[in-house]
């Protein structure tokens, strides 16, 4: 069975068999990370990319006055290291929200990929674009949506992302975040997150119990949140980078090598 990384990437860009092999080959042995432990620390140098194989993690920044902003939630199959990994030192911390396992991809391997297998490098970078699009969506959330819309939108996005990797079924999924962590991602205080969840529950739209999200009325929640699929659409690359075009790809590799 394919790894979650492969499964997620192929949702966006078709992967050649050789590329799947290469992805597998690039990763180190699995590495266990304990809950609350930092995988990447803000301000520190680091020269490896990670892939989250299992568990939840959060990319975050602490701000002067003691507050904290979670930039995004990292799910299994996601890369850890963009965009910070391209700077002198990490711009943000990434810490495990649950027990997690990761594998490492040495930075040098990624760089080398540009020479040896540019098309795979391109595909990986495209997945980074997807991540940037999620940031942008999050921006709209914080800038222009009410607390109710934010919470609803957040939970729907998580649902959609988890479904993509087979970790959520139709209406429910496990969601290990505390209300404090939700508040930190949505720019809300803990009590208000709580009240907002209560309202969703009272309105029979959505319940969280025992870390399980149960969406009672998907359409209503989606319309309340203004949720659209957007960045989950497939990439649009007419003809190019297409898995059915293997001959051409291999030829290119030969030339550039």
């Amino acid at each position: 069975m394919d790894s979650l990384l492969v499964r997620k990437l192929s949702h966006f860009v078709p992967l050649l068999p050789a590329e799947i092999e290469l992805l597998k080959d690039m990763q180190s042995a699995e590495l266990a990370v304990r809950r609350h432990r930092e995988i990447v620390s803000e301000g520190r140098r680091y020269d490896t990319l990670f892939v989250l194989l299992d568990g939840f993690a959060a990319r975050s920044r602490v701000v002067g006055n003691g507050g904290r902003q979670i930039l995004n939630i990292v799910l299994p199959g996601d890369f850890i290291g963009f965009p910070g990994c391209f700077f002198e030192s990490a711009l943000y911390s990434v810490s495990a929200l649950t027990k997690a396992t990761v594998s490492r991809i040495p930075h040098a391997r990624l760089v080398a990929l540009f020479d040896t297998y540019p098309r795979l490098a391109a595909k990986i970078f495209w997945s980074f674009s997807c991540e940037a699009a999620m940031y942008a969506e999050h921006l709209v959330d914080l800038g222009r949506r009410s607390a109710l819309e934010r919470v609803a939108h957040f939970l729907l996005e998580l649902h959609a992302r988890l479904q993509l990797i087979g970790l959520a079924d139709d209406r429910t999924y496990q969601m290990p975040l505390t209300q404090e962590q939700m508040g930190d991602t949505l720019g809300l205080s803990v009590p208000h997150v709580n009240r907002t969840l209560r309202q969703l529950r009272d309105d029979d739209l959505l319940v969280i119990e025992h870390q399980q999200v149960i969406i009672k009325d998907l359409d209503a929640v989606a319309s309340l949140a203004g949720f659209k699929w957007r960045y989950f659409q497939r990439f649009g690359l007419p003809g190019q980078l297409d898995a059915t075009d293997e001959a051409k790809t291999l030829q290119v590799v030969a030339i550039s090598a």
Copy 2:
């Protein structure tokens, strides 16, 4: 003289002379865009990247209830098209805030770059990382900063970015945004932007008059806003991709090929 694009890119990653030539060559003739005109429209397919050569532009999204969120301000030398250009249809609109001129880079040229000149492609993608980092910073703004901090931080960031391309001097720069546009980027209402600017003025920290920002007390504003350079640092690629180290670079290619 080098173009602004080259000048900006070289701040982050060293460019080889051949790469500079190539960048120049990839761009179409200049294209004039009138104020308020959309360069890219949300939801529409489009298959070219743009480079903003002159003027200001904004990447934005309209939300259900009539509001609008500006995701970031596009300055001369910036690419237009990330991350939206990698999706079926544009995720956001980009519209000119002033009279502007752009040049086009056909999407196909960029894709081809991965085969013909992967290292330049890599550098361009690295500049996209920088953009993603700005999104993240903007997230912290909206999530965890007060109106006063937001406005101050925003104006300092613009100042720093404009200095990078030689469009701002020590303490002043031209800033063509209306208060409404500032409000749309900072998630604030027009009256409140106004009151906040007034406060900055009353405290002798910063003035805007005739579309000119005058920073009276840079240190005070910076500390108020918690402004740090962060994503303006150079990229940290020890040895690799370094223009002064071409021999080693080639060696890496040879090994990994």
